[in-house]
């Protein structure tokens, strides 16, 4: 009896990795847009990473702040030095999981609306956030796109009174990524 149980336990242990398939990308495009009365500012990073656990719907995103490219060099400088303090806080992360996972079938081609709840960390400040997006399953990959807004004030990013007309407190963020199955079990 005990032997059989051990065999069963071993089977479970060894077969588990097959079920916990992970999807990964290092090419996530993260764009942000500030639309203030005097000025529009946008910047993009094409090297965000994302890991999604297909078994649980858990996901983790990370983008390096110094990897954002702006049209104007001076804006990029100010963004890094004055607002994001990117030498002190080099990355932004989001860790969460899909809350309506029963509506999302990652094994069947199609487009699904996903709601994700988790912790957003920007400028060293962590905040609970709920974000929605689309997951398109096809060709063995997951295409994820999302658009949401973050408030500078929520993440302790201070905009001087003199710059209020230039930089919006509401920053629109768009994310586009194609996640492929991770080759190894890591």
């Amino acid at each position: 009896m005990q032997k059989r149980f051990l065999l069963f336990a071993a089977l479970i242990a060894f077969s588990a990795p097959a079920f916990s398939q992970k999807f990964f990308t290092r090419d996530a495009k993260v764009k942000f847009f500030s639309d203030a009365s005097m000025e529009k500012i946008e910047a993009v990073s094409k090297s965000g990473t994302a890991v999604l656990d297909a078994a649980s719907g858990a996901m983790e995103w990370k983008v390096l702040i110094k990897g954002f490219l702006f049209e104007k060099a001076l804006m990029q400088e100010h963004f890094n030095e004055n607002y994001m303090e990117s030498s002190k806080y080099p990355d932004a992360t989001f860790k969460g999981s899909i809350t309506n996972f029963s509506d999302v079938n990652l094994n069947k081609d199609g487009a699904y609306q996903a709601k994700v709840k988790g912790k957003m960390k920007i400028h060293g400040v962590e905040k609970d956030m709920e974000v929605s997006g689309t997951i398109t399953v096809g060709d063995g990959a997951l295409k994820i796109s999302s658009e949401f807004t973050v408030k500078c004030t929520d993440f302790n990013i201070k905009i001087e009174a003199a710059k209020v007309a230039n930089i919006s407190n509401d920053i629109k963020i768009t994310v586009d990524a194609t996640l492929n199955p991770m080759k190894k079990g890591n």
Binding site: R26, D27, K46, T49, L64, A73, L74, P90
Partner: protein
């Protein structure tokens, strides 16, 4: 009185010109920029794996020349080219070619030894470098 007005106008004009220049200050020209330091891809990756904070203090925002063997080259639909340098680990040093520079070539053979110079932006699975150009 007139002289003071002229003087004020001159100062205002100079201020405006400086402001305009700063506003339109171009991005650093990567081809002619000098690298702050040169390092091997594996050594850079190992330093980051061992202690990210210490490595950031040393390399973050520095223009570094990284040498290594090409593991993989990817080209995105929008034309973005990334070259991954082998470090003996699952992850490596990921060099994103500069969208503002002209590149003599964007094709690299797996296993060939190359050197890229770019801005080190930190650790995100790979050590990432942006605005890279090849150094011959």
């Amino acid at each position: 009185m007139k002289r003071i007005i002229y003087l004020l106008l001159a100062v205002a004009f100079a201020g405006g010109a400086i402001g305009y220049y700063l506003w339109n200050k171009p991005h650093v020209d990567m081809q002619s920029a000098k690298a702050d330091l040169a390092i091997d891809a594996a050594a850079l990756f190992n330093e980051y794996s061992a202690d990210e904070t210490a490595a950031n203090a040393k390399y973050l925002d520095k223009m570094i020349a990284v040498s290594g063997k090409v593991k993989e080259t990817t080209k995105a639909e929008d034309g973005t080219v990334k070259v991954s340098l082998n470090t003996g680990s699952d992850f490596g040093v990921l060099c994103e070619l500069d969208p503002l520079s002209k590149h003599p070539r964007t094709e690299f053979t797996e296993g060939e030894t190359v050197t890229f110079k770019g801005n080190c932006t930190g650790l995100n699975f790979d050590v990432q470098l942006t605005r890279c150009v090849e150094v011959k």
